[in-house]
Symmetry: C2
């Protein structure tokens, strides 16, 4: 439905990857609750304490519920399980604050899974923001954190703006470069509104997620200009099939298209979520190459909360009331498509490709835990 | 030299607009000091107190020194002078803190010029960061702030990371929209290094500055794909001459190219530097449509300052050591081209187009102040 003959067509702000692979009618629908308890059971069996297992499962399943399948169970669970089994992820991390001020902390996550340690770091940031206005926590020695917006959204019930960034292993070229130096390094920002769904921005600073390239290759589809570079670093600036060997580009694609902006923002993420943690940045071999950064800004510290939420509603409605360009029906803001998808999937369940459902059942079988019930 | 037959070719990270317009040999070279004292004299004559006049001039001239001519004297001074003369900019603003916590403040800038009030807001942020780790200040009821990186760079001598954003009047389409709702809404981040030049990122969240379009139109040159939309909102996705009526696009150009990322980041700026100030956002008619946001993060609050600066040097050198793509000689990080240009212009002077030098002399003559000596 989102993939049309020979050409990638994407939904607004939502990477509904399952829907690339299988028609709606072939999918198996499972409830968020069933998927969450299945994943939590798997985490527990791998040595993760009960409460942490529930939290890690919640992060993955919220991604599925919001249509961010690239960061949901089907795409991430297998690598987390492997990480626990190989020992690269620590199931019982003794994460600790190694430096602290009234508004900041630096956390050594002791190789804990980012999906589980980052919400705790965000809890610290929220507590600091409550006391002094802003809280900011850098997390080093870390592992993958799932959907970055999960962590930023934790600020919302506290009437705070939440920020999350994560420095990842290198896969993206710097502008004019031929070797990857930066991760997809996403930035997530969540802002509370009044009656409207919150503003929730969450995007990689690369032009596209590698998952989308793999899907396009599998389907023999063409990719848009500016998504990839040739192996020698030359940006591919026409619509064509992806080469076998390629690198990701920063958002903007080529220098003329503004790739120095995506590149620069990716650097900011690598610095705040990498260098600033004191545990290294994405491209350092032999050092942990995931680092995280979370922050909470108390709205009340800046302005009246009621006025702010009212004005956010006004601002969102202004965007929605924008006359659409030809061929488009709606102008949305970040977080609206995901909120709409979440309403649908909480009612109808999460569609799983039969193959994905099979893989989850195999994993449950291997580990001897209950599955999707 | 940066503009070749029928096609825009840009320098890395530097909008050397003067060089679009005139060959190096035709330019008049003036020292930074002469330009600064000229501009300060003009500001003083318009009623700006001495110290403020010096500060406002310093912001404009640093842009010229660093090669950011789009935000230097030639492009901005005329509009500031008009603003003072028409009364839309207040030369003696009674700016004040209207809300405050240990790590935050909100400032009513009383229609003061942003180039002058924003450094003071950044001073507040730095003082707060020194005391509690992070300082963050939102500035409403504001006017244009010049080159955003000026304000973020104020954090550098304090071993702090500086951030600056500004919400501007609408000129940029939201993704899928046909009416402008957002300003060019830049983001600037400055990070101290050790022996290397600091990392200084400063970029609009639009694909391109409107100045570059005007120059291309004047020269009859083609513009790259993804820079503009037709008047009806359709992104122009091939290289061609700019139409007479157009809108700017968010960085990424079209949705396929990732414009939802530029759009989302522009929204973040509009929220932090607009809605959060309590004084309105860019697109509200009848309300001030410039708002600013500055922040300072103390490096010492997160990690050892010496270790951090050493690792920043290592990180910058890693980027510089990246094998270049065909046709390119160097991989740089944000702030390096500007630091190189600053060294040249501090030695050789700032090149002014003869027409620009003439305009400045006319302005000085009108106002009866000394000029370029």
């Amino acid at each position: 439905m989102l993939y049309t003959a020979g050409k990638v067509v994407l939904g607004m702000g939502v990477a509904v990857l399952e829907q690339f692979k299988v028609g709606h009618s072939e999918a198996e629908f499972v409830s968020g609750e069933a998927l969450r308890s299945t994943v939590a059971g798997i985490f527990r069996r791998l040595g993760v304490p009960e409460e942490d297992a529930e939290l890690g499962a919640d992060v993955l399943v919220l991604a599925d519920l919001r249509g961010v399948d690239s960061h949901g169970v089907s795409n991430m669970l297998r690598s987390y399980v492997s990480g626990y089994q190989e020992g690269s992820i620590n199931p019982r991390p003794a994460w600790r604050v190694v430096r602290e001020t009234p508004s900041t902390a630096t956390v050594d996550s002791d190789r804990g899974l980012g999906t589980i340690v980052t919400p705790k770091a965000m809890g610290l940031a929220i507590e600091k923001a409550r006391r002094v206005g802003v809280g900011m926590v850098a997390v080093g020695n870390a592992r993958h954190l799932g959907m970055a917006s999960y962590h930023s959204m934790l600020a919302l019930p506290h009437d705070m703006i939440g920020v999350c960034m994560t420095s990842c292993p290198p896969s993206v070229l710097p502008t004019f470069g031929a070797e990857p130096r930066l991760g997809t390094n996403p930035i997530a920002v969540a802002v509370p509104a009044g009656e409207e769904a919150p503003f929730v921005f969450d995007a990689a600073t690369s032009s596209v997620a590698v998952n989308k390239i793999r899907i396009a290759q599998r389907l023999g589809a063409e990719i848009p200009a500016g998504w990839l570079a040739e192996a020698d670093g030359t940006p591919i600036m026409e619509e064509r099939q992806a080469p076998d060997d390629y690198w990701l580009l920063p958002v903007g694609g080529s220098r003329e298209g503004g790739s120095h902006k995506g590149y620069g923002l990716s650097c900011v993420v690598d610095i705040l979520a990498g260098v600033l943690t004191g545990f290294g940045y994405g491209a350092v071999p032999g050092r942990p190459n995931f680092g995280h950064y979370v922050a909470a800004y108390s709205v009340d510290a800046f302005t009246d909360v009621g006025q702010f939420k009212g004005e956010m509603d006004e601002w969102i409605r202004m965007m929605n009331a924008t006359r659409p360009a030809p061929g488009h029906e709606r102008v949305l803001v970040a977080g609206q498509p995901e909120a709409e998808m979440e309403a649908v999937r909480r009612a109808e369940g999460i569609p799983l490709h039969p193959e994905v459902a099979g893989l989850i059942r195999d994993m449950c079988g291997e580990l001897g835990v209950g599955c999707l019930v």
